[in-house]
Symmetry: C2
DNA sequence: AGTTTATATTAAACATGTTTAACTAATAAA
DNA sequence: TTTATTAGTTAAACATGTTTAATATAAACT
């Protein structure tokens, strides 16, 4: 690596670390680019040059913790429990992460969830991993004979993810609700989804 | 009504009309408060005094069309179709509305969906109406004997609404997808939800 | 009617994300 | 080694949402 490239990476890391500190401490809106630049010892312009925009910087800053959480959750996934509990293991893990700083993660989700994939590479990647993980769980359920074989697993993953998103929105909208309460609601919704709410005539 | 109050309302309407025109024409980010003020023939400060913030102005500006759409959809709800089709009637109606200007409605949803209820009164009200309508449909299904009587209808409404939101996010994230395609995906998800994906041992 | 108070309006200032153009230093070319 | 080019950095400018303080005028009061 070049001497130039090295120092570039170094300032990039300085900015990232400063951003993580300030974002965690004061939230997104309250941490100005000027603040972050000062904390990192660089110019405000440098922040923008390195990370296109404040939103993109937020995404980069939080990405590490999100990826860590996902891989830890995947690794700690209990094998023996039934599907609903395994789904809740995943969802609750993310709820707990976001609960560490709801305002900050709300800002992240707000700025990324509606963007086309290319604009938010990290969140897009995590979402895709999550979706693939979900469809994997459903496929496994089919292999075990507990999920209907005719079910489209991609659609199923989308359904489960949608229910999760609905609960996530509840978590962000309702500061009075605890992670446990939101998780219970999600469990009830997912349970309905697994069992179906319609009466099927055999 | 006072002469003062009357003129206040008048400028309020001037601003609202200007905002509707400009937002529809150029989108939210591209319409500055200064633009809107100029178009309305008032000062930029006046815009903020009348509508707290640009976001709140957007919510006010779009609220009329959203409420109209909701009441028309409720009125035109087909009585004879089965539940899935009736749910899709509602969802598709909103998808079509949002499809008239995806970027603009995306901005609206982004700025309102995560806010506590008090901050976004109109969207909150519409969401609550929608949710109540959904739980009403489910209750009706129970009365007709096509929905399991033990189903919690509030949870069911939340589930159906979450699936709808998931599809809505897809509509906003994927400019390449048509309303019809998104609606088909939602129909598939909702169908899974109604029938259940798990195999139930009798 | 004259005076006071409340309020709608606005000009000017402010804060902050972002852009632009200039500067500096490292690398490549001669 | 000297020169030219590329690329990282930044100061200054800009655009825009919002706040503040001043102004004007309608309503309330005496």
């Amino acid at each position: 690596m070049n001497r130039r490239e090295a120092s570039k990476n170094e300032t990039r890391q300085l900015i990232l670390r400063a951003a993580r500190r300030l974002f965690a401490q004061k939230g997104m809106e309250e941490s100005t680019i000027r603040d972050i630049a000062r904390e990192a010892g660089v110019s405000p312009a440098s922040v923008v040059v390195h990370f296109k925009s404040k939103t993109a910087l937020l995404e980069e800053a939080l990405n590490r913790d999100i990826e860590t959480a996902l891989s830890e959750l995947a690794a700690s996934m209990p094998e023996d429990l039934e599907l609903l509990d395994r789904l809740m293991h995943l969802a609750k893990g993310f709820f707990r992460l976001y609960d560490q700083n709801r305002k900050l993660y709300r800002a992240l989700i707000r700025h990324t969830i509606f963007e086309p994939a290319g604009e938010t590479p990290h969140i897009t990647k995590v979402s895709e991993l999550y979706l693939r993980f979900l469809s994997g769980l459903v496929e496994e359920g089919q292999a075990r004979g507990i999920i209907k074989p005719e079910v489209d697993t991609t659609i199923a993953a989308g359904s489960i993810f949608s229910l999760y998103l609905g609960a996530l929105i509840m978590l962000f909208r309702r500061p009075d609700m605890t992670v446990e309460q939101v998780a219970e609601t999600l469990a009830a919704m997912t349970d309905q989804y697994l069992k179906g709410i319609a009466i099927i005539e055999p």
